[in-house]
């Protein structure tokens, strides 16, 4: 489809990939600048299918260390005029798109260069990621990355892990967002997955809870094909529920003052066969 911007990053990516095949394997395992390698893992979704299955295996991938900033997004709208505030189609970005900017090419007012960009729709975030030759992370990838503590790949055992996240959710959104990269790096070297803004995911619309009811039950079963699928497997992770409910309320064209994004890339599998 041609929402895709015109800058030939994809072609460049191909050559880099070909060069990577020819070069020493170690080079291929080095993440692109600004990205960290997340070693993969297992995402246990909040919903469970009737047979109890449902864990999603996540392959290693590269993830931006920090969220996309106003400065990053400015470069994108400079190169892709159709995504400027005054030009973006309302179909793909509702009223309020980049409303915190002073103008089409002027993050300003309250929007500082190093702040995460917010008030962007899923369509805009997807177009940005493609312009970079990247993609948005899936829910499973995002949650696996966000599961990491500062020490371990699964930080949920760390004493203050849940408490720190819950404390952030409990604080009102600051009038001026902080710059990216100020929260501690997690096990993978990724920052701000908790504590700054919510983030778009590629398949944000994969949670099959209706707008009226977010629990399993007969009330929903007529609305979805494969309807046994709604129903939580783990009631312990309150923060994950909150994120899931947040995603469940979104539509692709929505823009929200505390919703940004970061990009991802497939990573080569590591290690000799």
């Amino acid at each position: 489809m041609r929402l895709r911007p015109t800058v030939p990053f994809r072609a460049a990516g191909l050559w880099i990939a070909l060069a990577g095949l020819a070069a020493a394997p170690a080079a291929a395992y080095t993440p692109p600048a600004g990205m960290a390698r997340v070693g993969g893992g297992t995402y246990a979704p909040l919903y469970r299918d009737a047979d109890g299955a449902g864990d999603v295996a996540v392959a290693p991938f590269y993830l931006d260390r920090t969220a996309v900033t106003n400065a990053d997004f400015l470069a994108f709208v400079r190169a892709n005029p159709q995504w400027r505030r005054s030009r973006a189609r309302r179909l793909f970005a509702e009223e309020g798109y980049l409303s915190h900017w002073a103008g089409d090419l002027a993050p300003g007012g309250g929007a500082v260069a190093r702040q995460p960009v917010v008030n962007v729709s899923w369509f805009a975030a997807t177009a940005y990621a493609r312009w970079r030759g990247h993609r948005l992370p899936t829910v499973a990838e995002w949650e696996v990355a966000a599961m990491a503590g500062t020490r371990d790949a699964d930080g949920r055992g760390e004493a203050d892990f849940d408490r720190r996240i819950a404390a952030w959710y409990g604080r009102p959104r600051p009038a001026v967002l902080p710059a990216v990269g100020q929260t501690p790096a997690n096990h993978w070297g990724v920052r701000d997955l908790h504590g700054l803004v919510f983030e778009w995911t590629a398949d944000f619309n994969s949670a099959l809870a209706s707008s009226d009811s977010r629990r399993a039950g007969d009330a929903d079963s007529g609305a979805f094909c494969g309807a046994g699928a709604v129903g939580a497997g783990d009631f312990g992770d309150y923060a994950a529920f909150l994120r899931s409910a947040y995603r469940g309320g979104l539509r692709g064209r929505y823009v929200v003052p505390n919703l940004g994004f970061r990009t991802a890339l497939d990573a080569p599998a590591r290690g000799p066969r």
């Binding site: 489809m1 041609r2 929402l3 299918d49 047979d51 299955a53 449902g54 189609r89 309302r90 179909l91 793909f92 899923w122 369509f123 997807t126 590629a202 398949d203 619309n205 994969s206 949670a207 099959l208 007529g222 609305a223 979805f224 094909c225 494969g226 309807a227 699928a229 539509r251 692709g252 064209r253």
Partner: protein, 209 residues
Amino acid sequence: MTRTLLLLALSTTLAACAPGTSAPDAPTSAPDAPASAEAARPPGPLPDESVYLLDAAWTAHRGDALQLADLRGEPVLMAMVFTNCASACPLIVEDMKALARALPEPDAVRFVLVSLDPARDTLEAMRHFADAHHLTDAWTLLRGTPDDVQMLAALLNVRYRPTPDGQVAHSNLIHILDPDGRLIAQQEGLGTDPAAAVAAVEQALARNG
């Protein structure tokens, strides 16, 4: 402006639904009325809210290439399904037929099914589905790339994900698009009485009349 366009498109719908009218007359009351007296397909740029702005390449089950904008000119009932669907999808097809029957002029409506499972919904599988359900020429089954399917689902607020047993869990929604591709109503659920969706179309008319 938006209101004007919606009204315009709906008048076109009505014109198309008027008995014995094969080519709708161009509405002339609105200042932006396209001069479409001779053409069944409204000319001019698509309105800003048209789903048909999604610039993606699809393949129809009969093998022809298609852009959504090619659907322009008639009201469309659209659903995103997959043909391997054991339970809900055949029911959606029946619901679409029932919904069309409840509209003023059922024969003016086109039906479009878009596959949520393009990997397995080959053209052959879609043709088999069309035969098995006795779908007429008014029906078009579409296959696209996973990225384009995801884009369209996001536009129509369809939620879906693969399940471990190889099915695709998805919203059961029938989308009603006006002749310019604007989403004017949605019917949710299975076996739903189409009266509410028909009323939504009429309300949209009343709001703009």
